[in-house]
C-alpha cells in the first residue's frame, strides 16, 4: 500500500518569539527615552569664574542634589551663538534649561520658549515675564546712588565702570545722569567697559584716574569692574572710593581697608538654589516660573564680618 506523506505544519515558535520581541521593545521604550543625549536639567552660564557665577552654580547644584537630580553645566564659549548652543539641548530632550547670562550674551530679539527659563537675566520680547527671574538691579543702582551721595559726596567727579556693553534703558545710572539737565549733580567723566576682564578694568581705571585725578568715586557694576578699579586705586592711591559689586577676598580686603566704600552683593547662591528648586518643586504652578527677586546686600567695613553677611560672602563649604 502506498504511504501517504504528512502535510507540513506551520511552526508556532516563530510567532511566539515575535510576540516576545514586541514585549521586550515595549519594555525598553521608556529606557530609550531616558537615553536621549541631552535630556535632563541644564544650566547655561556666561562664566564659571568669580563670586557671582560660582555662587549661582553652587546654589543650582545644591538644589539639584537635594531633589536627587543631576545638573549639567554649560558655559557659553567666546563667540558661541546662543541659538547654536540651545538648539541641540532643546531638540535633545532637555527637561529644563536655565539661562544665567550677561546681557551682552543675549542677542537682540532673542526668544526662547519653555523649557528655556531665564535666571537672573532678561530675555527680550517676553512681555509677561513668563520664564524670567530677575534680581533687583534697578534697586541696587538706586541704593548705590544714595550711598554715593550720602557717604562720598554729591557734586563729585565719577567714573562708571561696567562689565558689559549693554544695559537696560531704565538703568538707575542712566536715569540719574539724564535727570536735571543730564548730570544730576554728578560730573560724569567716562564709562569704562571691561567685558568681564578685571585686567581691562584695571587698565581703563588707571588711565582714567590719571587723566582725571579729581575723581572721587568709581561706580563699578560688576565684580571684575570692582577688582580692576581696586587694583588701580591701590596702585595710584588718592581720595577716590569704590562703590562696587559682588565680593571676593580681594574686594573684602578692599572693604576692610576702606578703599571700597560699599560693595553690593547679590545672593547668587539663593538665585541658583531657589530658582532651580522652584522649577523642580512638584507644586510649582503649571503656568510657568514666577518672578524671583533677590535683593542685593550692601557690604561695608562695619558689617563685613557680621554673621549673616560672612556666611553669604565666605561659604563654609
Amino acid at each position: 500500500m502506498r504511504k501517504l506523506q504528512p502535510a507540513p505544519a506551520k511552526p508556532s515558535i516563530k510567532k511566539t518569539f515575535r510576540i516576545l520581541c514586541a514585549l521586550l521593545c515595549l519594555l525598553l521604550l521608556p529606557l530609550l527615552g531616558c537615553a536621549r543625549p541631552n535630556s535632563g536639567l541644564w544650566l547655561v552660564c556666561s562664566s564659571d569664574q568669580g563670586f557671582y557665577w560660582q555662587s549661582l552654580i553652587d546654589g543650582a547644584r545644591q538644589a539639584a542634589a537635594d531633589h536627587h537630580r543631576e545638573l549639567n553645566l554649560r558655559i557659553l564659549a567666546d563667540g558661541e551663538g546662543l541659538s547654536e548652543l540651545l538648539t541641540p539641548l532643546v531638540r535633545g530632550g532637555a527637561e529644563l534649561v536655565l539661562l544665567a547670562l550677561d546681557r551682552d550674551d543675549i542677542p537682540p530679539g532673542f526668544y526662547a520658549p519653555l523649557p528655556v527659563v531665564a535666571l537672573g537675566c532678561e530675555l527680550p520680547n517676553q512681555p509677561n515675564l513668563l520664564g524670567q527671574y530677575r534680581n533687583s538691579e534697578y534697586f541696587t543702582g538706586q541704593e548705590t546712588m544714595q550711598t554715593l551721595k550720602r557717604e562720598i559726596g554729591n557734586q563729585i567727579e565719577v567714573l562708571l565702570v561696567t562689565g558689559e556693553e549693554h544695559y537696560r534703558p531704565d538703568d538707575a545710572w542712566e536715569a540719574e545722569l539724564r535727570r536735571e539737565g543730564g548730570l544730576g549733580g554728578l560730573i560724569f567723566h567716562e564709562r569704562i567697559v571691561c567685558y568681564g576682564d578685571a585686567n581691562l578694568a584695571y587698565l581703563g581705571c588707571k588711565a582714567a584716574l590719571e587723566a582725571h585725578p579729581g575723581v572721587r568715586a568709581l561706580i563699578c557694576q560688576s565684580e571684575s569692574a570692582t577688582l580692576g578699579a581696586l587694583r588701580a586705586l591701590r596702585e595710584l592711591g588718592g581720595p577716590a572710593r569704590i562703590l562696587g559689586r559682588e565680593m571676593n577676598e580681594e574686594i573684602a580686603l578692599g572693604v576692610e581697608d576702606g578703599l571700597v566704600q560699599a560693595s553690593y552683593v547679590t545672593n547668587a547662591y539663593a538665585l541658583g538654589y531657589l530658582g532651580l528648586g522652584d522649577q523642580l518643586n512638584p507644586g510649582q504652578d503649571a503656568a510657568g516660573p514666577r518672578l524671583l527677586v533677590i535683593d542685593s546686600i550692601a557690604v561695608r567695613a562695619e558689617n563685613l564680618f557680621s554673621e549673616p553677611i560672612v556666611r553669604l560672602l565666605f561659604p563654609m563649604e
Binding site: A9, G275, F314
Partner: protein, 568 residues
C-alpha cells in the same frame, strides 16, 4: 467553552499558576526581605556615623596632642620665646593639614606670635572678636563656634578656635595669655563626609547647647530666612529624618549627628524591590514563553491533523507524521491506518470499475464482432435476394437496435425490458441467419420488466445456447424466461439442444464460482459466459453469478439471480 482553544487554555493555566505562585512568593518573602533591608540600611548609616565619630575623635586627639606639644614648649622656666614657639608651631602646622594657624595672644588679645599658612594682617587684634571674648571669660580650654579668621592677610578662612589659657614666662616676662589653634572647618567637612549616605543625608556637628558647629548645608539652610514666597522651593525638612544616632565627641563639647532622607532608609529595600519586580517580570515572560512552547508542542499535532482533514479530497498525501506526545503518536498511527484502509477501499472500487469497463468492453467487442456483422449482413442480402423484403426489414431493424444498444454509453444497468428487447433482436438475427432452424420463446413477468438489471447478460447466454446447443440441430427451441421469485429477479436461458458433457459441465460450474483474472479471456463456454459471470459478481456481489445445469444430448439451462433493483 466550545469556543476556547486548547492552546489558549494551556497558556492561560500555566501563566496563571506561575503568576499566582510568583506573586505569593514576592508578597510573602518580599515583605520580610524589605523589612530586613530597611534595617540593614539603618545599620549601615549607623556605622557611617560611628566611623565619622571616630574620625572626629582622631582629629580632636591629634589637635589635643599638638596642643600639649606646643604647651610643653611654653612651660614656665624653659625660657620660651618667639623663635622657639614659632619653630614648634611651624612643626605642628606641618604635621596637621587640619590646623590653619597657631598663635599666641596676651590677655588683651594682642598677637605675640603667629604661625600660619599665610601672612599676618598688620595690626590684627583679637580683642574685638567674639570668640576671644568668650574664651577669656571662661578661662578654661574651649572650642569656639566657627568664625571667619581675620588674622590673615588676604584670606578669610572659616576656623574653629581652640583656646588654651596659659601662664608662662615669655621672653623673660611673666605672661598670662592664650594659646590659640585655629582648626580649619575643611577638616570638619572631611569628618562629616559620609560616603555611605551618598546624597541621602548628611552629618553635622553641634556643640553641647545644640548650636550648629558645622553643617555641609550651611548655605542652603540659611536660605530659609530669605526664601519668602519661594519657601516651597527649599527641600522640605519633612523629607529628612533625624537619625537616632548621635555620637558625643571626645572633647566633650561636640556632638556628631545626622539627618537622613526617608528614602535613604529604604534605598537597599527599594533597590531589592526593583530588582525583584524585574525578576518577576522576567519570570512572567519566561512563563509566557514556556506556556507557548508547551501548548504549541501539544496542539501542533492536533492542528496538523485538523489541517490534513480539512484538505481531504484536495491534498493528495494526507498521512500524518507521528510526532508530539505519546498519545498523539498513537492517534496519528491509527489515523494513518484508517487512511490506508480507505485508500485500499478506494483502490478496490477503482479496480472493480476498471474490471467492469474491461468486461463491458469485451462484451461489446464481442457483440460488434465483425463476423457476426458480416454474417448478418450476408443474411440480409440473401433475404433480399430471395425477395423477402419484410424479413430483410425486420433483420435490419433488429440489427440497428442491437447496434444502438451496443454503442450506447450509460451506466452498467438498464431495464429488464431493454435487456429482453436486446435478446429478442439477437434471436431475430440469429434465427434469420440460421434459416429458422430453431425456435425461440420469451417469457417475461410483467412485474419484472420495470426492474433494472446489468446490461448485455442474456445475449451472450443466448449466443452460447445457439452456438453450442441448437445451431447444429434443427427443430430445437431456445427459451428465455424472466420472473420474480423469492425476492429476487430470475433470468433463465434454456435450450433443448446438445447438452454439456458432465466433465465439462463440472469444470464450467467450478469456474463460475472462482474469480478469474479480468480481460477478454476465452476458453470453455467462450468469452461470453465467463465475462457475464464476472460482471454479475462485480455488479451484484460474489453470491450472485451464473448457474449452469445440463443433461447431455437433452438440454442446457443457464440461469442467474439478481437482487431487485428499481433504479439504475
Amino acid at each position: 467553552m466550545a469556543k476556547i482553544s486548547i492552546r489558549f487554555l494551556l497558556v492561560a493555566v500555566i501563566l496563571l499558576v506561575s503568576l499566582v505562585g510568583m506573586l505569593l512568593f514576592h508578597g510573602v518573602f518580599g515583605n520580610l526581605t524589605y523589612a530586613a533591608f530597611s534595617q540593614l540600611d539603618l545599620q549601615i548609616i549607623t556605622q557611617n556615623v560611628e566611623q565619622s565619630r571616630l574620625k572626629l575623635d582622631a582629629l580632636i586627639d591629634k589637635t589635643a596632642s599638638l596642643s600639649q606639644y606646643l604647651l610643653s614648649n611654653l612651660l614656665p622656666g624653659d625660657g620660651a620665646g618667639k623663635e622657639s614657639f614659632q619653630k614648634a608651631a611651624h612643626s605642628a602646622l606641618g604635621s596637621s593639614d587640619a590646623l590653619h594657624s597657631i598663635f599666641l595672644l596676651d590677655e588683651g588679645g594682642k598677637m605675640l606670635a603667629f604661625s600660619s599658612r599665610g601672612a599676618l594682617k598688620a595690626g590684627y587684634d583679637a580683642a574685638g572678636e567674639d570668640w576671644f571674648a568668650a574664651a577669656s571669660a571662661s578661662r578654661e580650654p574651649s572650642y569656639s563656634l566657627p568664625h571667619i579668621q581675620r588674622a590673615r592677610s588676604g584670606a578669610y578662612p572659616w576656623v574653629v578656635s581652640i583656646v588654651y589659657p596659659l601662664r608662662t614666662i615669655w621672653e623673660g616676662e611673666e605672661l598670662s595669655g592664650y594659646l590659640v589653634l585655629d582648626l580649619s572647618t575643611a577638616a570638619l567637612r572631611e569628618v562629616c563626609a559620609a560616603p555611605g549616605l551618598e546624597g541621602e543625608g548628611y552629618l553635622y556637628i553641634t556643640d553641647g547647647a545644640g548650636t550648629l558647629v558645622y553643617t555641609p548645608r550651611a548655605r542652603a539652610d540659611g536660605l530659609r530666612f530669605i526664601a519668602g514666597a519661594f519657601s516651597a522651593a527649599l527641600v522640605p525638612g519633612a523629607q529628612f529624618r533625624q537619625l537616632e544616632v548621635s555620637a558625643p565627641a571626645k572633647n566633650g563639647s561636640w556632638v556628631l549627628a545626622g539627618m537622613i532622607r526617608e528614602s535613604g532608609l529604604r534605598r537597599s529595600a527599594e533597590a531589592f524591590q526593583a530588582r525583584s519586580l524585574s525578576l518577576l517580570l522576567v519570570c512572567i515572560l519566561l512563563s509566557l514563553l514556556l506556556a507557548n512552547v508547551t501548548s504549541a508542542l501539544i496542539v501542533k499535532p492536533i492542528l496538523n491533523m485538523e489541517r490534513a482533514m480539512g484538505n481531504a479530497g484536495t491534498v493528495r498525501d494526507l498521512r500524518l507524521r507521528p510526532s508530539g506526545t505519546r498519545e498523539f503518536i498513537r492517534l496519528a498511527g491509527r489515523y494513518n491506518a484508517l487512511l490506508d484502509q480507505i485508500d485500499g477501499l478506494i483502490k478496490d472500487a477503482t479496480q472493480k470499475q476498471a474490471q467492469l469497463r474491461t468486461l463491458e468492453l469485451a462484451a461489446l467487442q464481442d457483440q460488434i464482432n465483425p463476423h457476426f456483422l458480416y454474417n448478418t449482413l450476408d443474411s440480409i442480402v440473401w433475404t433480399l435476394e430471395d425477395e423477402r423484403p419484410k424479413e430483410a426489414i425486420e433483420m435490419v431493424e433488429a440489427l440497428a437496435k442491437l447496434l444502438r444498444l451496443s454503442i450506447h454509453r450509460g451506466g452498467n444497468f438498464h431495464t429488464v425490458e431493454n435487456e429482453i428487447e436486446h435478446a429478442r433482436n439477437y434471436l431475430v438475427l440469429q434465427s434469420a441467419r440460421l434459416s429458422r432452424r430453431f425456435r425461440y420463446e420469451i417469457e417475461a413477468q410483467s412485474e419484472a420488466l420495470g426492474l433494472y438489471c446489468p446490461k448485455i447478460i442474456l445475449q451472450p447466454l443466448i449466443e452460447n445456447a445457439i452456438k453450442y446447443g441448437v445451431a447444429h440441430l434443427s427443430g430445437r427451441t431456445v427459451r428465455l424466461r424472466v420472473y420474480l421469485q423469492g425476492g429476487e429477479l430470475k433470468m433463465q436461458v434454456y435450450d433443448d439442444g446438445m447438452g454439456i458433457e458432465s466433465a465439462t459441465l463440472e469444470r464450467l460450474q467450478a469456474q463460475m464460482l472462482k474469480n478469474p483474472p479480468p480481460g477478454g479471456e476465452t476458453g470453455e463456454g467462450g468469452i461470453g459466459i465467463k465475462n457475464v459471470n464476472r460482471r454479475i459478481k462485480l455488479l451484484c456481489g460474489e453470491e450472485y453469478g451464473l448457474r449452469i445445469s445440463s443433461e447431455m444430448e437433452e438440454w442446457t439451462c443457464v440461469s442467474y439471480s439478481l437482487p431487485l433493483q428499481s433504479h439504475p
